[in-house]
């Protein structure tokens, strides 16, 4: 058992932790980062291997070692989820992510007010905890800009300082300047998607992605090998924390990364302050770090779990839980798919960055009139690859069109003909927050360290949630028809209602300590030197957009507040 002292300890060195480590380290603060997995190198990722990284999820937590259980409601028994989408190494999910890098729309930050203004209060389901964010787009814009330039996002602006630009996302909020890198090349499925969507009067564009379209900050440009989502980048073109922020943090001389370190407790005293953390080392030793500031930044499951595991006599319901909202309002993007095949040409969608290549924003957020539809909010509609990855194992998970069998000679002929001639579309659909969608400690299942597994209680099948998914899937099918494919078919959205992607919530931010866990800086209301930063603080999903760039913008905003306000005057930032 070792004890050490530092200014700042960060638990989880991923999208958030890497940014905070670099920013605080540069300002002269001594930072220790704890990471339960290893620190890998770019050379570890060549050559690519679909079985190892996609199917066996080598860069993600093992459901056997790090189980997260799920049940649809409080009356059902929870079972370990078969796959997890978060990261398991230094760099976190940014090592294997698809790199989609979105800014939320302006109104996404005032979703409750905007919904009531446009549709009246009755448009919000009675049992939903839909709220406005305590931060505005204008406030976050400089940090979005910083994240885009620091990590290297390729794209084309559709609204620069209020000027709408054809070919970019005309629905986006005004940005202060163009993306740092031009859009990535399109593959043939994106070409077909663009033509089909335009036929319908929609507004397709190349999705903004944190992949360098040309050399950037000493990193090479993308080689279009197609191994992005689920894989590490074999040239370092992906703007993962591993190749962007960790080297920067190292260079400060103020950062120390401890790998194989499983944090199991945040320690606190009777004054309400936290004093540091305890973690298990790879040798099973129990170690302590004392720190002035504790920043918790793993994936959302562990934010809530750590707070619950850290309960004391003074805080019997867990740390940061005086509001009783810890672990509540969990959300997920529901992925509805539509596939299209072509007889007269190859598509070869295994080429090029694999996830959500081309997008329309027309049916996302409040970008369309929901009057009479029976639901609010929408989805990001994109074309990419099955399961966001373009290898043949991923294609084999796709349910074939009606009339084609799922096995046997008919199935063989289907994969043989259409693997290289198909398009894969996904509607990444927003879910509303509900207080009874929760994370807590599983009473039965424990992880490899003997800690209770996080248990997710979540179901997207409320009528209004279902109606949204059905609507956007129908829109995708219309685009598929307009693309000219002879076969267009939707696949069933998981009938079991298992959780989707991008889990968010559990430590929601707000402007009132009575109904939220943290303020907009991720600072817990109850413990001023304890910060929870990441998508666990999202009070709503924002949109059908992938959350990472917003997570990173919030990390830059928190780092700025810690350096420029908290350091001078430790205490509540609000």
């Amino acid at each position: 058992m070792a004890t050490e002292k530092t200014d700042v300890v960060i638990v989880g060195v991923g999208a958030v932790g890497g940014i905070i480590a670099a920013e605080l380290g540069k300002a002269g603060m001594k930072v220790v980062g704890l990471e339960r997995g290893p620190r890998l190198k770019t050379e570890d990722f060549e050559p690519h291997d679909e079985l190892r990284y996609f199917e066996r999820q080598d860069l993600r937590p093992s459901p056997r070692r790090d189980p997260v259980t799920w049940r649809p409601n409080a009356n059902a028994r929870a079972n370990p989820m078969p796959s997890l989408n978060n990261g398991n190494q230094a760099g976190g999910g940014t090592v294997h992510y698809g790199t989609l890098s979105w800014r939320m729309h302006e109104d996404d930050f005032r979703v409750r007010s905007k919904t009531i203004e446009r549709y009246g209060k009755s448009a919000i389901p009675d049992d939903s905890s839909l709220v406005d964010w305590p931060v505005s787009y204008a406030e976050l814009e400089p940090f979005y800009d910083k994240a885009e330039y620091e990590l290297g996002v390729s794209g084309k602006g559709g609204n620069i300082q209020g000027k709408k630009i054809e070919g970019g996302n005309v629905f986006e909020a005004p940005r202060s300047r163009e993306y740092p890198l031009k859009p990535l090349l399109v593959d043939q499925s994106a070409v077909l998607f663009e033509a089909g969507a335009k036929k319908l009067g929609l507004h397709p564009f190349s999705s903004p992605r944190a992949i360098a379209s040309e050399p950037y900050n000493g990193r090479p440009g993308c080689t279009y090998c197609g191994f992005c989502q689920a894989f590490g980048c074999h040239v370092g073109a992906k703007g993962s924390i591993l190749v962007t922020k960790l080297p920067e943090a190292d260079a400060t001389g103020n950062f120390k990364l401890i790998t194989g370190a499983m944090c199991h407790r945040v320690n606190s005293d009777n004054t309400g302050k936290v004093t540091g953390v305890s973690y298990y080392g790879p040798d099973r030793s129990d170690n302590t770090i004392e720190a002035d500031i504790v920043i918790i930044a793993p994936f959302i499951y562990d934010n809530t779990r750590l707070m619950l595991l850290s309960k004391t006599d003074k805080f019997p319901n867990g740390l940061a839980n005086s509001s009783g909202h810890l672990g509540k309002h969990i959300m997920a993007h529901i992925m509805a798919n539509v596939f299209v095949t072509f007889d007269d040409q190859y598509v070869n969608n295994f080429m090029g960055p694999s996830a959500q290549k081309h997008t329309i924003d027309d049916f996302n957020a409040d970008n369309f009139d929901h009057s009479g539809l029976g639901f609010i909010r929408g989805a990001q509609l994109s074309i990419g690859t099955p399961n966001l990855q373009g290898g043949p194992i991923a294609f084999s998970t796709v349910g074939p069109p009606p009339g084609t069998p799922y096995w046997g000679a008919g199935y063989r002929d289907f994969v043989s003909k259409y693997y290289a001639r198909h398009g894969a579309m996904v509607a990444q659909t927003e879910n509303l927050p509900f207080p009874d969608q929760t994370i807590d400690l599983d009473p039965n299942v424990r992880d490899a360290w003997g800690l209770p597994a996080p248990r997710v209680t979540y179901d997207w099948r409320r009528p209004s949630e279902r109606a949204r998914v059905e609507f956007v899937q129908k829109k995708l099918a219309e685009i598929g028809q307009a693309m000219g494919g002879p076969h267009v078919w939707p696949t069933p959205v998981s009938p079991a209602g298992a959780p989707g992607a991008h889990h968010e919530g559990g430590t929601r931010m707000g402007s009132d300590p009575k109904d939220s866990v943290v303020n907009k800086y991720g600072q817990t209301w109850d413990h001023p030197n304890l910060f929870l930063i990441g998508s666990s603080t999202f009070p709503t999903m924002g949109a059908g957009f992938n959350p990472t760039l917003t997570i990173q913008a919030l990390a830059y905003m928190s780092a700025d507040a810690i350096l420029n306000k908290y350091r001078k005057n430790p205490g509540s930032l609000i």
Binding site: E46, P47, H48, D49, E50, L51, E55, R56, R64, L185, V186, D187, Q188, T223, Y224, C225, G226, F227, H234, Q345, Y346, V347, N348, F350, M351, G352, G391, P392, I393, F395, S396, T397, Y406, W407, G408, A409, Y411, R412, D413, V415, S416, Y419, A420
Partner: protein
């Protein structure tokens, strides 16, 4: 040759030295083993497999890492029906899918050994109840009927795992064996990748590749340890 095959050959050689003549029967020339019809026999000539017995298995390469010989025949027959070969279209047997599953169950998926053992016992019970024979001895149409029953959960002999769980698992393993890199023991000579036109782990594509609406043929197939001889 995959690492596993190398390991298995080394093991077999060691066994032969230690155990003498009985074990040395497995050391047939590789070319003979490759061309031997046994692989296709299980699916296409169902009556042949059981009666030929252990010597056939031995002649074609010997015992694997996990399955016993009967189970190996059952899995070979089952996976071949799930992904049947045809002229110009390699199937599960051509791709050595059984070898993939055998290696998976003795390694990464070792926690599913009991699942497979139980399922194969139940499968034989179901087939004996229904047809009076084990699955590996059935005609192709009966095998297909059986797979449909598994898929639809209409095989009452199954308790745990359920028939549908077994169907899903074997189908997933079959696809992995068809399409995972050959280093894992299946996708032999890139059979699965040739079937669908996947060029493997290409390190890059050019702007011209991205603009093409034709099949990709610029480079041979690239695997973790080898390339195909032609494009």
């Amino acid at each position: 040759m995959t690492k596993h095959d190398e390991g298995r050959r080394a093991f077999l050689v060691g066994t032969a030295v230690g155990a003498g003549a009985a074990a040395s029967a497995v050391l047939v020339p590789e070319a003979l083993a490759k061309d031997h019809p046994e692989h296709h026999a299980a699916a296409d000539a169902p009556a042949a497999a059981p009666s030929m017995g252990h010597s056939m298995a031995s002649m074609s390469g010997g015992h694997g890492a996990f399955f016993n010989d009967d189970d190996r025949r059952t899995i070979t027959a089952l996976t071949e029906r799930l992904m049947p070969g045809a002229p110009g279209m390699p199937g599960a047997t051509d791709a050595s899918v059984t070898n993939y599953i055998d290696i998976a169950l003795s390694g990464f998926d070792e926690d599913q050994q009991f699942f497979y053992r139980s399922a194969l016992t139940q499968l034989d019970a179901h087939c004996k109840q229904t047809y009076g024979k084990a699955f590996r001895g059935l005609a192709a149409e009966q095998q297909d009927e059986t797979i449909t029953a598994l898929q639809q959960g209409k095989a009452p002999a199954f308790v745990w795992p359920t028939a549908q769980a077994f169907f899903t698992k074997v189908r997933t393993h079959t696809m992995e064996g068809m399409f995972a890199d050959p280093v894992y023991g299946g996708n032999k000579n890139f059979a699965g990748w040739r079937l669908v036109g996947f060029p493997g782990a290409q390190p890059f594509y050019t702007p011209e590749d991205m603009q093409s609406t034709k099949a990709f043929t610029r480079e041979p197939i690239v695997g973790l340890q080898s390339r195909s001889k032609e494009g």
